[in-house]
Subunit: 152 residues, 2 copies
Amino acid sequence: MLVNWRIIGSMTTMNHKPDYEKELRDAGVRITRPRRVILDILTATEDHPDAMEIFRRAVSVDSSISLSTVYRTMKLLEERGTIHRHAFNGGPSRFEQASGAHHDHLIDIETGDVIEFRSDRIEKLQEEIARSLGYDIVHHRLELYGRKRQAK
Amino acid sequence: MLVNWRIIGSMTTMNHKPDYEKELRDAGVRITRPRRVILDILTATEDHPDAMEIFRRAVSVDSSISLSTVYRTMKLLEERGTIHRHAFNGGPSRFEQASGAHHDHLIDIETGDVIEFRSDRIEKLQEEIARSLGYDIVHHRLELYGRKRQAK
DNA sequence: CAAAATTTTGCAAATGCTTGTCAACTGGCG
DNA sequence: CGCCAGTTGACAAGCATTTGCAAAATTTTG
Ligand SMILES: [Mn+2]
Ligand SMILES: [Mn+2]
Ligand SMILES: [Zn+2]
Ligand SMILES: [Zn+2]
C-alpha cells in the first residue's frame, strides 16, 4: 500500500523543466553568464545547497563567478518566486527551485539528509487553524527533525 | 463554540512556575546575579524576545549585565532544555520558556504578532508521516505566516 | 570565615553569513 | 558594431552571535 505522502525522487525535478531564461528575460531581467550558470545549477540540483555550495559548483563551470553574485542572484530569484529559501536548524540559507509541487521537509539530525514529503491533510488543517484564528496563510514552514528508527 | 486549538493567554506562563534556580544548582550550574536576572525575565515574559530585547530588559534591572552573558545564558538554557529557540522568518533567535505545553506559532506578517496554537491532529499526523518514512521525530517546527482576514 | 579552587563575567576582538559600494564590464536594442 | 543602464567582481561593511582573556564572583575547603 502506497502512503499518500511518500515521495519518490525529488519533487522539484520531477516536473517539467521551466524555461527560467525566458521567464526572466520577459520580466526585463538580463541573462548574464553568471546567472545562466547559477540557473543551470539550480535546475540540475536534487538537493538543497547553500550559497557557498552553489558558489563552488558555479566556479567549477566558470571560475570568474563571485560569491557576491551568487548571493545577489539568490535574492533576485527568491523575490521573483523562482526559488525557495530554507533555514534548517538555523544554519545558513539553503535553496531549491520553486517550480515543483509544495512540500515540507524531514531532516535527519544524524546525517543531515533532507527528505521531502507532502501531507494534504496537514496542509488542510493548517488552513483551518489559521482561519479559525482569523488569518489567511501566506506561507508556512513545517520541518520535522528526527533520526532513523532502529530496527530492534 | 470553542475551537480545540485556540489558546487563551500564553501557554508558557499558564503553567506552574518552575524553580529554575534549584534545577540549575542541582545540575552543578552556578546561580549568579546575571543568571538570576535573566531567568526572572524569562519566567515573567509573555512574548518571544530576542537576545537584544532580553539584554535591554536585563539592563533595566542590573545595568552591569553584558550582552555576551545574555547570549551565553541563552545557549546554556537551550542546551539544558529550559528554553526553546525560534528563528521566525530567518531573523535573530527568539526565546521562550520550555516549561509550558508544546505549541506552534502563527506569525502575522503585517504586524509581527506571534499567536500560539496547538493542534493535536497535526501533531499526530507528523508522527505518522515520520514513522512511514522510517523516522522518529526528535523535534519539529511548524510556523504559519499569514495576514488578518479582511471582513468584507 | 578566609583562602583555594573553580566557574562566570565584561570587554574587545573574531566569526560566519550576508549586503553595500563602486569602478569596470556587458547584454540586448538599435 | 555602438551605446548605456543593468550587472559584475573585489572588497569593505553590517549584523547576529561567539570566543579569548584577565578580572570578578561563587562555591568548596580547611
Ligand atoms: Mn525541498
Ligand atoms: Mn511560543
Ligand atoms: Zn506544507
Ligand atoms: Zn507542533
